[in-house]
Symmetry: C2
Subunit: 755 residues, 2 copies
């Protein structure tokens, strides 16, 4: 292949390192007003009154938005459950929830006006923890919420066992009771995973303009097309009335999925007489807008003496915060992801999303993955330990083989997990055994990629031989534009430099379901490949006619059509067809379940395999990850440089929730939603030895055998590190992050109890 | 039909009447600099030196552009002949030619800087008139000029008979000498047609930004795709490096065809370090940028005693001004258009474009049409008069019949000229005979539409049943968006309101050759029809599968697919196909000669038929057009309201060159390039009785039998009015416009000479 598989620099690289690249907040939108938001300082309270009189008197203030402006509409939205109002209506449910918003000529005026809005609250008892939430007589966060018609693949039950259960998923395979009855040993553990924040370099930023019934949005969004349809529904518009423009996005990681700040900005823009309104979050505001689910996972596994897994039962409680956001979908992923990558004929799991009075939790890189793979993999290590098995050999024996199914009707495993694990083990040990006092840990995880594999694309071959790709995948830093351009260049047989792919504008870019779930290379990649193949067919047929031969005798290569030694540049072919130096050839590509992508779900299994060598300072409890190796089973790396970068990025991100990241609440208040008190991984958190290896067996459903990646790398880090800590210290820690204090305490208490 | 043929209001009407519609100059482009241009005050001079030092010292000035900035490139451009420099290089060739340009933070600074640029000229003898130009030893305007590779359909001859002949076309049919030899009577006349200006409400306006090798243009242009390729060529870019955005255009009439001010603005933007530069012409500047060709037409016709035309010989000299612009193409049209709409087996014509030191002449509504139809039609009337024939009956006898060819291999007449003329005559006389002293005049003209029928389009059906049309026809006020939307709605069987069609952006809108030559309804109309039909086929097939029937049993209607009584909205069909409320169906349409449009040229004949009743005030020479009737043979009116509006608009525009419009030169200086001294038609110039009638025989090559219109209406006005004046006064005037002074003088001299 000429372009695919090559280590290309990202096409927007120079733009980004020179600061030329423009993100939503960089766009100069004439006459734009600044918006600021008044947020709840209470975890749970009834709003008695809102007085905006003084705020409106501030010079420069154009509009103040309160719940009273939303009485003419149904202000509730949510892609799973419509439980979230654009602004707090009767109650606030978490600290940081928007209560009012101001649009003003400048930011200072907006801030002053916000400070002058007087809200009278009546405090209500709040729900702080999962146990609080599920207690009898607990305060109820949502008396009712409508299921969203768009939410297909999770069953919403009106008959909730407890009113604070937002969503419950149940999965059962085989006969769990018999499995446990036949087991020689049963292992039971409870794990606690922290609240963590996405922290994208670019906080949420949206500009909205409502003019003449036409709504235009410039938004840092990973879901422009879902935003279009949801905003159309909310504000009574058609899809063609709503234009969503997405330039570069400075990181998303799920935090920019579905609607975030857009409805609020649009509602404010309804009041500014056509003037555009921009809301740019601070980091703190973004941290108070979305987060990953914290979780408690109870896991019980019955095994034979040789380690064969006979039964597994899991209950995972995911803290979804004050509103559902994408929580139900996270719950639906966790219920399967907690199965683990091993043969287990008898499996039962229950996954719950639980409302609490905290920041709403939604999608985050590998939704429900880290919370569910970590317990499985730490327990697997404990089983090996107790049974006296080598953790590597034990895993290799138990891993699902290629094409093995977790449950009938689902896609079998489309990779070679054993090869991947063996590769990690080999990488880990090639530098010799760990130094004295250090430990080694391994982990394997698989996650099912999300459904709705729907993408469409247009590829246009211009009359000078250049190519325009119109594809709605958002460039969130993952390199989508580069990869999609490579696929088009390959399929259309043109030099990579001739392909142009720009940002998304829903008025001109054809539909894409979303950017997320590691789907862009596989699903949109297939759509652009189809569209390019459509043009390929056309140019071949036209060139054949021009050569006066059958189409089979024409070969495309290097931006030209060849018939034997005769050669015609694409520019000549197109111009010849149209009879002038103009015209263009247009190709389209549709991908949907059963059309371009197999209808059997998941679309693919995303695999994450990692190994760590860690040293623990027994005096301070500090954990140092000295070496980390990752294997990413990518099927086929369209761009190995980018694939490695993504896999490494995922592993570094996971160092955060493994070692130090945690959003902490006390008395219903978030204590550290800022970059001083909440630490995210930096360069110094990268292990000294840090390598990623790509497994390329061409077994993915995407172009050239590619499959999704970039999320898998996040799941094995915490268990690999925990397992290495256990090997180094003999102590298994079941709560993240592994802060020095927590490790130190665990080491101390290990002197008295067993692990 | 549900949508086509209906009197729809234009879709952008409300936007325009409320002032919301945004034209190029209305776009808020952040950081935009104002440009002003220093123009030549000499008709012909050598530039000795340009001193910009003082100009550069003006605070706020960012860049000053002179010929020295163009030494690194070939600065000559032109779509027919590359004879025009971006800025005057060695010489200036007409008053108003750009010599230097300034970009500054504000307009006043730019104007001040322009006033401080010192240019030393060496005056040269200049060419004022056609006779001056063709004289032996006349000053030569262009020693050489390269033919442009894009200019296909005119033969450029290096062997020019005279160095000031820019272009010469010759046409010969039959045996002209024998024809004249057999003639009973020979008529010979010379006609003089004035220089006139386009006067669009929006003068030329272009903003250019050159940033990181990417050129973005916002321009009031009718030819965005030609601009893209020409600028790419001039500045060494690829098509994907050049983005041309065209919002609404406030009138074009040919004055915004091909490159006008764009190269100058781009060259200036090369010097502003990425800051955008906007040049907004004043009306005067636009008048000094482009105009219609003035012309002298010698026409000799030999007839039998019964009026049968045996031979015609014509020489038409078109004053093309200082640069070729689109002159060669105008020359190429005139050579045929001067044939007239009558049977004439022996025909010879020579059409010349002549350089003079005046504003360059290019395309203007019916290029070469008014200048060539008027002499034919006035002479026809004189022939009838001399032979004692009724001018109506004479014309009806001599007119070309349906499918009759002017020359072998060309398209036969695709309309019923007799029906149209009879209709005008009927309309004229239905109010009774003209009042005493008034006269009645008729005229018929046909024009061949230009070649290169190349358009492409994309139609997208969204998952809520709305439709996006991507078509590059520029909305110059002619109603293209409305007509194209009607065609798509009809073809796709959706309500008209569901169709959205926005402005052109060459990065997202597929190729269109140009907006002009009355081609949009016919050519682009066919492209969008094909694209819509492509979607129609898809939705039918998908719906059939969903109904579980054969595709033939499915009928589309009202935005839904029907199978008997069963009905599925398009939204359901699309969503069902993609398995979610998303996805979209994409259709493409290509039109080219031989693909969608017959390869036989012209694409269609555009017909203009008119009749006037005029009164002449013998004391003042004032001509009053009391009644004017026009018949537009439109094949099929996609939107009768708009078609009538266009036809009436053309007629009113023609009142200008007929009665009062003329750009006057003295001593090489234009005397009246402003709206005070140069009068354009206003409401009070509309005849008291003014009606247009559409002929709809479905005989056009466009959608539903439509053919181009909107230019035809301009051609019969001058001859009909002149013929009416002759009937009223007995005096034939062979020079336009019919100013009171000219008419009064003609009436006076008629007392001594015959007409």
């Amino acid at each position: 292949m000429e372009v695919v598989g090559k280590r290309r620099n990202r096409i927007e690289g120079i733009e980004k390192v020179t600061g030329e690249a423009r993100f939503s907040g960089d766009l100069d939108i004439p006459g734009v007003l600044d918006a600021r938001v008044l947020r709840s300082t209470y975890p749970h309270a009834r709003i008695r009154s809102i007085d905006t009189e003084d705020a409106l008197g501030v010079p420069g203030v154009v509009a103040v938005l309160t719940r009273d402006d939303l009485r003419d509409m149904d202000p509730y939205y949510g892609h799973c459950l419509r439980d979230r109002p654009i602004l707090a209506m009767e109650r606030v449910r978490h600290v940081g929830e928007p209560v009012a918003a101001v649009a003003a000529r400048d930011r200072l005026a907006a801030e002053e006006a916000v400070s002058l809005i007087r809200v009278e609250y009546e405090e209500l008892p709040y729900v702080a923890t999962l146990d609080d939430a599920l207690a009898q007589g607990a305060p109820v966060l949502h008396e009712k919420a409508a299921g969203s018609g768009d939410f297909h693949d999770v069953n919403l039950s009106d008959a909730r066992e407890h009113p604070n259960i937002c969503h419950h998923e149940h999965m059962e395979i085989g006969d769990v009771e018999r499995g446990f009855a036949e087991a020689d040993e049963v292992f039971e553990d409870v794990f606690h995973f922290p609240m963590v924040c996405h922290y994208s370099m670019e906080p949420h930023t949206t500009t909205a303009r409502f003019q003449g019934g036409q709504l235009t949005l410039w938004s840092a969004s990973a879901h422009p097309f879902l935003i279009r349809s949801e905003l159309a529904r909310l504000f009574g518009l058609s899809m063609t009335d709503v234009q969503v423009v997405v330039p570069y996005v400075g990181g998303a990681f799920g935090g920019k999925s579905y609607l975030k700040i857009e409805p609020l900005v649009v509602a404010l823009a309804r009041k500014t007489h056509g003037l555009p309104v921009r809301l740019e979050h601070s980091v703190t505001e973004s941290m108070l807008t979305a987060r990953r689910h914290s979780a408690r996972c109870w896991i019980k596994t019955g095994v034979k003496r040789d380690g064969t897994i006979l039964a597994r039962e899991v209950r995972i409680h995911l803290d979804t915060g004050a509103y559902a956001d994408n929580g139900p979908r996270v719950v639906a992923r966790a219920v399967l992801r907690v199965h683990g990558a091993y043969r287990c004929a008898n499996f039962r799991s229950d996954s719950y999303g639980i409302y609490t009075n905290s920041v709403p939790a939604g999608s985050m890189r590998s939704i429900g993955g880290p919370q569910s793979v970590w317990p499985v993999e730490v327990q697997m290590d404990r089983i090996a330990d107790v049974l006296g098995l080598d953790p590597l050999r034990y895993r290799l024996e138990q891993l699902l083989g290629r094409d093995e199914q977790i449950r009938p009707g689902s896609r079998g495993i489309d990779g070679d997990l054993r090869e991947g694990l063996a590769k990690v083990a080999e990488m880990l040990t090639e530098a010799g055994p760990p130094p004295a006092g250090a430990g080694t840990g391994l982990a394997v995880g698989i996650t099912d990629s999300e459904a709705n594999p729907v993408s469409t694309a247009i590829v246009r071959l211009l009359s000078d031989g250049n190519v325009v790709v119109m594809a709605g995948s958002t460039e969130v830093g993952q390199g989508a534009r580069t990869v999609l351009s490579q696929i088009v260049a390959e399929e259309l047989c043109v030099p990579f430099e001739r392909v142009m792919l720009r940002g998304t504008d829903t008025h001109t870019t054809p539909f894409d379901r979303s950017t997320g779930a590691s789907r862009s290379t596989t699903v949109m990649g297939t759509a652009v490949k189809f569209a390019a193949a459509d043009v390929h067919r056309q140019i071949k047929a036209i060139a054949a006619e021009q050569f006066g031969v059958d189409s089979e005798r024409v070969v495309l290569k290097g931006g030209a059509a060849w018939c034997g030694e005769a050669r015609r540049e694409f520019a000549e072919v197109v111009s010849g067809f149209f009879g002038m130096p103009g015209g263009e050839l247009i190709g389209r590509g549709y991908v949907r379940a059963g059309g371009g992508i197999s209808p059997i779900l998941p679309i693919f299994w995303e695999v994450g395999i990692g190994g760590a060598v860690v040293a623990v300072d027994a005096d301070t409890g500090e954990v140092e990850v000295q070496r980390y190796n990752s294997v990413a089973d990518v099927g086929r790396a369209i761009n190995p440089r980018q694939a490695e970068g993504q896999d490494e990025g995922a592993a570094v991100m996971a160092m955060g929730h493994t070692l130090f990241e945690s959003l902490i609440y006390a008395d219903g208040q978030p204590l550290n939603p800022n970059l001083v008190d909440y630490r995210v991984p930096g360069f110094r958190d990268i292990p000294r030895t840090f390598e990623s290896c790509l497994l390329e067996n061409g077994d993915g459903p995407g172009p050239y055998g590619a499959k999704g990646m970039g999320e898998g790398g996040i799941i094995p880090v915490a268990p690999a590190v925990c397992n290495a800590v256990a090997q180094a210290t003999g102590v298994r820690i079941r709560e993240l992050p592994l802060t020095p204090e927590r490790v130190w305490r665990a080491l101390r208490s290990a002197d008295t109890e067993g692990s």
